[in-house]
């Protein structure tokens, strides 16, 4: 018992901070319907501000606390609500999730941009952090004490707010349907602003309280904190604040107790303790009854929102079709010619890397583009493919091309293995489960010497005959082309149509005889397989690759990037791949000029900021920014072609354009428009003049 308690007591402050974040997550989820992935970023910002005020500008701790927690935290929450989340309360889960993930990448980059470098030895909030308080044979220090006291005070305040004030009641109503709440005469926006400021305060407090436990203030630490808190929030069914508190406390304490009972020397044991929250999260998502029973919050009035616009390709008339058929091969040949013979070696490498990234991104096009589901472990599949190929080629002397393919097959098998237990999960819960899998892969699998070999990494040789940069570029193009054709064929084939049906209505898809389990496992395996092949190509291009190249941060960055450019089309993957390589390169070229020399070591931060913030366009253009602009220019070109020929607009474009204006003339059959007034049926009365927004 003494042994147990001596480990359990230091766990209490961790548990309290987890609980604080979990309560903040549940609070925003309940009041705004947004599962706020940016919470970790908010905590990070306040921790950095507190550090700057106290350690760099030598202000008093109280001033630092007021600046970081009382001012900056709620202010950031208010800004996020005002500019973003208020407008997407009823948006699909994916939109909210991607916006949050984009912020999770973008916001810490702002701090890094204005304030590059490491922030070591974060100060504690406690006036006497090193003082030790004894009780019996146990003791806690001043820092732990301040965490416990602060969290208890905040929790008591929250209890009063929800139990005894009308505001608490309104906050709960807003979640159900902000539109209905407004019909009842409540200003939903004001309630939501308050909730976001409150949760911003909680995030800030959590960040400042937890910072002293880390060696330096680093965004990755806060992502780990976020996952532990997510586990506690899931334990609470994303609904109950007391359960979130209990879950966080339990997790923090048990994680510390585990340290006391595990042997210290094996790699499994050292990796297992930090992974404990991830394992708990997976188990909760799979087995916890509060999750099993829960349906995702959907607005009963959501049916009146306009549907997403059709793909740009459907707007092409016959003339344009002919034109693109001619231009496309010319473009490809010109692109390859320029890459092979005109640009310097450095740029040849970059463009090859872009195409290899595009191959990996096709896995997102396959999974998210077809099934609409979000996986946050695509980088882990890529890593699995790379390490398998590398180990087979170096340890077993297998031909590298064969090793690449086996790498893909192993990743595909892993994809199926991930899909099978998570069959029931969709949307947010699937994303969270894959997030936990990604963290487990990074912490438990990739450090093993037989797979990722820790920080040293694995050598992945280039295939024989493809050692030269030009030859490897051609190989990368060929691999990409094969994967792209596979994605296109599956998308227009039976599997793609089944997935499209399931995305529209899973229950209706089942009642016509579609086996949803089979479709989901198939697409997960295909997607993971493509990621595995792409990852193996990536390793082969770099020569050496380690687990750090495939951590969860990249999974998040990649999916945010692909969804921003366009997840439904192969072009989207290409654009994302090239952008990932060229944006930092162009920025650093810019930093080389005298005007922009301040960019210097801030290039990475700035490009991550741009990628993260790019995700904010996703809410307006769920088809992707590139796809949106393509449709706009296609419509423009078609109109121009018709004007030149002196014709009326061609049939295809006319249809699409009419439809976009909500004037489909053949459809005014339902009589008196009663259908529309009937309410929640997913029949859409009219489309906005510009389906994708202005």
């Amino acid at each position: 018992m003494t042994h147990f308690l001596s480990f359990a007591i230091p766990g209490i402050p961790y548990g309290f901070v987890y609980a604080l974040v979990a309560v903040g997550l549940v609070l925003t989820y309940k009041t705004s319907g947004v599962f706020n992935m940016a919470f970790a970023a908010q905590a990070y910002v306040s921790a950095a501000i507190y550090y700057g005020a106290v350690s760099q500008h030598h202000l008093s701790k109280w001033v630092g606390f007021v600046l970081a927690v009382v001012v900056a935290g709620p202010a950031l929450g208010y800004v996020l609500d005002r500019l973003l989340f208020r407008h997407m309360r009823t948006a699909p889960t994916v939109v909210k999730l991607i916006t949050g993930l984009g912020l999770l990448i973008g916001i810490p980059s702002i701090v890094q941009f204005f304030w590059p470098g490491q922030h070591q030895n974060p100060p504690s909030l406690s006036p006497k952090p090193n003082a030790v308080y004894h009780f019996g044979s146990y003791h806690i220090d001043g820092n732990q004490l301040v965490v416990i006291v602060a969290v208890l005070v905040v929790m008591a305040g929250l209890g009063v707010l929800f139990r005894f004030t009308a505001l608490g009641l309104k906050m709960r109503a807003v979640v159900e349907s902000p539109r209905m709440v407004e019909l009842a005469g409540i200003n939903a926006d004001r309630v939501s602003s308050f909730a976001w400021m409150l949760s911003g305060f909680l995030a800030a407090l959590a960040g400042v309280l937890l910072a002293p436990y880390y060696a330096n203030i680093d965004a990755t630490n806060f992502i780990a904190l976020l996952v532990a808190a997510i586990a506690a929030a899931v334990f609470a069914g994303l609904a109950s604040l007391p359960l979130a508190l209990a879950g966080g406390l339990f997790l923090g304490i048990f994680q510390q107790v585990l340290t006391g009972y595990l042997p210290l020397n094996s790699i499994w044991a050292t990796a297992l303790r930090p992974s404990f929250p991830f394992i708990v999260l997976v188990l909760l998502l799979l087995f916890w009854p509060l999750v099993r029973r829960r349906r995702e919050a959907g607005d009963p009035l959501a049916g009146v929102d306009p549907p997403p616009p059709a793909l740009a390709a459907s707007l092409r008339g016959a003339t344009l079709d002919r034109l693109t058929t001619i231009i496309f091969p010319i473009f490809i040949v010109a692109y390859m010619g320029i890459t092979l013979f005109l640009v310097p070696t450095h740029w040849l490498f970059l463009l090859t890397q872009g195409i290899v990234y595009a191959t990996i991104f096709l896995s997102i096009t396959a999974l998210t583009g077809m099934s609409g589901q979000i996986s946050l472990c695509q980088a882990s599949f890529a890593g699995l493919g790379a390490f398998t190929a590398g180990q087979l080629a170096t340890e077993f002397n297998i031909n590298v091309i064969v090793a690449l393919l086996i790498g893909g097959a192993v990743a595909a098998a892993a994809g199926a293995l991930v899909a099978i237990p998570t069959l029931r999960l969709r949307g947010l819960y699937l994303a969270l489960a894959t997030l936990a899998f990604a963290l487990l892969a990074s912490n438990l699998l990739f450090p093993q010497s037989w797979l990722g070999n820790g920080d040293t990494g694995v050598n992945v040789p280039r295939p024989p005959g493809f050692n030269g940069n030009r030859a490897f570029f051609l190989l990368a193009m060929a691999v990409f082309a094969v994967c792209a054709v596979v994605v296109i064929l599956v998308r227009k084939g039976t599997v793609g149509r089944y997935l499209s049906a399931m995305r529209g209505s899973q229950v209706a898809a089942e009642t016509i005889g579609i086996n949803p389990a089979r479709a989901k496992i198939t697409i997960f395996a295909l997607s993971a397989g493509i990621a595995g092949v792409g990852g193996a190509m990536f390793g082969s291009l770099q020569g050496t690759t380690s687990g750090g190249d495939y951590n969860v941060f990249f999974s998040i960055l990649w999916i945010v990037l692909v969804l921003t450019t366009g997840v439904r089309t192969v072009e989207g993957a290409v654009n994302a791949g090239i952008a990932l390589v060229l944006v930092p390169e162009l920025l650093s070229d810019l930093g080389g000029t005298s005007v922009f020399s301040f960019l210097g070591n801030r290039v990475t931060a700035l490009s991550f900021f741009l990628f993260g913030i790019g995700a904010l366009t996703y809410a307006k253009h769920p088809e992707g920014a590139v796809e949106f602009n393509k449709r706009r220019s296609l419509l423009w070109i078609a109109a121009w072609l018709d004007r030149r020929a002196g014709r009326e607009p061609t049939a295809g474009v006319a249809d699409a354009a009419t439809l976009a204006r909500g004037q489909a003339p053949a459809l005014e059959l339902s009589g008196d428009g009663q259908a529309v007034a009937d309410g929640p049926a997913p029949v859409v009365p009219e489309r906005s003049p510009h389906p994708g927004g202005p």
């Binding site: 064929l489 039976t494 599997v495 089944y498 209505s505 005889g513 086996n515 439809l659 059959l669 049926a681």
Partner: protein, 252 residues
């Protein structure tokens, strides 16, 4: 032997008893109406028959097969089709796509290797069958528009077509006429009559529009608070005093 037989079905949601010890059967080719006040358990019964919900007690057999442990999609392939009260369409797909995907799915085809050999496209046979159903329902002219652009009435017809093309032996219809105007309801009743007579499809029809019920069915069941309070030929049941009190209202 009855085509569909549900015996002793109970379903509770927390403290609410939606169905209690309910038994109902449908003969092959028979058209049965199921009426009752809102909340009587009609949609819950449909969900239990199709496996979308698991009943707490009771068994469902269809054509001699015990359905108790069968997932929804296998029940569908055995020949049970349904439509939904709140229509469930595949967004972003056209009406024709709805039928084509249903025609493919009912046989359980869909191996990915066929897609990779570019053999996933709809076959001529499938196209012909889809066109036949579209013209049976009279929605050929809107067949190639995305369903979001259709009126609720057309949406219901697309749902019906999607169920019909799977050639069900039993069709579960959940308030097909709600949201339809009078002319559309009449047209729908005609289509249902033809389907039942020409294809021998059995129909279980949940409907509030009693005119439509009388037009379509020969047998009527009345559900109240999860229990069957009447079951018999339409005219007899309509005249039943209990039924009038529970559902129809004395003034009828």
């Amino acid at each position: 032997m009855a085509l569909l037989r549900a015996s002793g079905i109970s379903k509770r949601f927390g403290g609410v008893v939606a169905l209690s010890e309910l038994s109902i059967g449908v003969e092959a080719g028979e058209a049965v109406g199921l009426v009752g006040p809102n909340g009587a358990g009609k949609t819950t019964l449909f969900n239990c028959l199709l496996g979308i919900l698991r009943p707490d007690t009771g068994t469902v057999t269809f054509d001699g097969h015990d359905l108790s442990r069968m997932p929804v999609y296998r029940r569908a392939r055995l020949g049970i089709g349904r439509t939904f009260q709140r229509i469930e369409l595949f967004t972003e797909m056209t009406a024709r796509d709805h039928l084509l995907v249903a025609e493919r799915a009912r046989r359980g085809n869909g191996a990915m290797w066929k897609d990779l050999l570019n053999r996933g496209d709809p076959t001529t046979d499938e196209q012909v069958r889809a066109a036949a159903v579209l013209s049976l329902l009279g929605i050929d002219d809107v067949a190639d528009l995305p369903v979001e652009a259709l009126s609720l009435g057309h949406g219901r017809l697309v749902e019906l077509g999607r169920a019909l093309i799977t050639e069900p032996r039993l069709l579960l219809l959940d308030e097909p006429s709600s949201g339809l105007d009078r002319m559309e309801s009449l047209a729908l009743a005609q289509v249902l009559g033809r389907v039942q007579q020409e294809r021998g499809t059995a129909i279980l029809l949940v409907e509030h529009d009693l005119e439509m019920v009388e037009r379509c069915v020969t047998r009527l069941c009345v559900l109240e608070l999860g229990q069957l309070i009447a079951d018999g030929p339409t005219a007899t049941v309509m005249g039943d005093a209990n039924v009038r009190r529970a559902y129809l209202g004395e003034a009828v």
